[in-house]
């Protein structure tokens, strides 16, 4: 098994997994919050926020990567600030790859969760309110469990997207084997040389296998959750 992948390739696989997992884990709470805000609140700038969330979908990934570079790079405003105050560096680190993947996957995650929130019957939330639950508790005990299928869908979409993300990642943190070389970067590299297709195909298979496993898992969990809610 270890034979047919070079150590660098194994490292790319491991890194892709780590980057995607971290990207999803960090963006999930933010995604739920933003989705809730977009679904339920009315506030100034709501459509601006909505547009911002969708931006990574609209822009060519390279542009997103370039903008990330300008903002979160060490010379960028936000990047410099984070570095100075928290010692948090994104440039040329796997953290940067996770940031890029997270941002690219964000619109997909938010939309799925938002749809789920919009489908929750506010009457149930009202009922919880009359039983003494504050807004936060209502969210945690009623809304969140009821939107779990949507959260799972959003998570798997985001994970798949993160696993496949390439354009923004390579533009932002480039491609340093073992540090920022994700599976898609490795695949891309092979596609660039004549006759590299076969090599690329091996890596593509691995990417597919990982993503399919995650997908099946999510379907399975999603079904279990849905069955619980349906009550039988």
């Amino acid at each position: 098994m270890t034979d047919w992948l070079t150590p660098d390739e194994w490292r790319a696989v491991a890194l892709s997994l780590r980057v995607s997992a971290v990207a999803v884990a960090f963006s999930l709470p933010i995604g739920i919050f933003v989705a809730y805000a977009l679904a339920r609140w009315d506030f100034w700038g709501k459509q601006i926020l909505n547009g911002l969330v969708h931006l990574p979908l609209i822009l060519p990934p390279v542009v997103t990567g370039y903008l990330l570079l300008l903002t979160f790079g060490r010379k960028g405003y936000v990047g410099a600030f984070l570095d100075d105050w928290f010692g948090l560096v994104f440039a040329f680190r796997w953290t940067g790859a996770a940031l890029a993947a997270g941002i690219m996957a964000f619109p997909l995650m938010v939309r799925a969760i938002r749809l789920a929130i919009e489908a929750v019957d506010p009457k149930l939330e009202q009922a919880a309110g009359t039983l003494g639950a504050s807004r936060v508790w209502v969210f945690l005990t009623i809304t969140l469990p009821l939107i779990l299928p949507g959260v799972i869908a959003g998570t798997i979409l985001a994970f798949a997207k993160a696993m496949g993300e390439f354009g923004a990642t390579i533009t932002f943190v480039s491609n340093i084997p073992g540090q920022t070389q994700t599976l898609p970067s490795a695949i891309y590299a092979f596609m660039q040389v004549p006759g590299g297709e076969a090599q690329a195909a091996r890596l593509v298979m691995i990417a597919i296998a990982i993503a399919m496993t995650a997908l099946l898992l999510s379907e399975w969990v999603g079904r279990a959750v849905a069955r619980r809610i349906a009550g039988t």
Partner: protein
């Protein structure tokens, strides 16, 4: 044609159009994508590649009109640094690139797949610098992205084509890699077998016309003939 030729080719095509009335349609993309498309039957008449190996692929597929392959352009590899007026350096075998970099990255195009990266790696190997900097190299999707890293200051130094470095105000060329440190950088051009039209031939010839030479040179390319 290779995407890096856009500015120059657009100008040449505009002149050609004005002169002959024939419209030229140019598709700019990565040489690899273009080569694959041509092999898969793209309705192209002329192919200008940024990489010799992809042109070889097309030729192997028997799609090049016999005798039309010529090395149209050349380019030089330069070391760029962030900032308008960075100190020039002497690039040779005694050049301590690693010390110059410190903990920072050297920005290059992908060293195993993208031509600019391949040439750069070859140069560094020939100069004996590769082992010391290998771990510090940040590889980008293409030369432009590599340049962007230097331009934004993310990486202090980068290795790019001279043609890319000309227009960027945030970088300065601090050194040129000796031509003999890597295989010659060649942009081959061919007339494809699909080209039947006389206009195709005319534009192919216009590419190597004197008027075009100036345009290419202005963009930092070397004209080979």
């Amino acid at each position: 044609a290779a995407a890096s030729l856009k500015t120059a080719l657009d100008a040449i095509a505009a002149d050609f159009q004005k002169a002959t009335g024939n419209t030229v349609t140019i598709s700019y993309a990565g040489s690899n994508a273009l080569a694959k498309q041509i092999i898969e039957g793209a309705p192209a008449d002329i192919f200008v590649s940024a990489a010799v190996n992809w042109m070889d692929e097309v030729e192997k597929a028997g799609l090049v009109a016999p005798g039309t392959r010529e090395d149209l352009l050349g380019n030089t590899l330069v070391l760029v640094a962030h900032g308008k007026d960075a100190k020039p350096v002497e690039i040779g075998s005694g050049f301590d690139l690693k010390a110059l970099l410190g903990d920072d990255k050297l920005s290059m195009a992908m060293v195993d797949s993208v031509p600019a990266g391949q040439y750069g790696k070859a140069s560094l190997e020939n100069l004996g610098l590769w082992p010391s900097v290998e771990a510090s190299v940040a590889q980008s999707e293409n030369v432009r992205a590599a340049l962007a890293l230097v331009s934004s200051g993310e990486a202090p130094f980068g290795i790019v084509y001279a043609s890319d470095a000309v227009a960027d105000d945030n970088v300065s060329v601090v050194g040129t890699f000796p031509d003999d440190s890597h295989k010659p950088i060649i942009y081959p051009a061919v007339l494809l077998t699909g080209a039947k039209d006389a206009a195709d031939k005319a534009f192919f010839e216009a590419l190597s016309a004197d008027a075009s030479d100036a345009t290419f040179k202005a963009e930092g390319f070397a004209v080979l003939k």
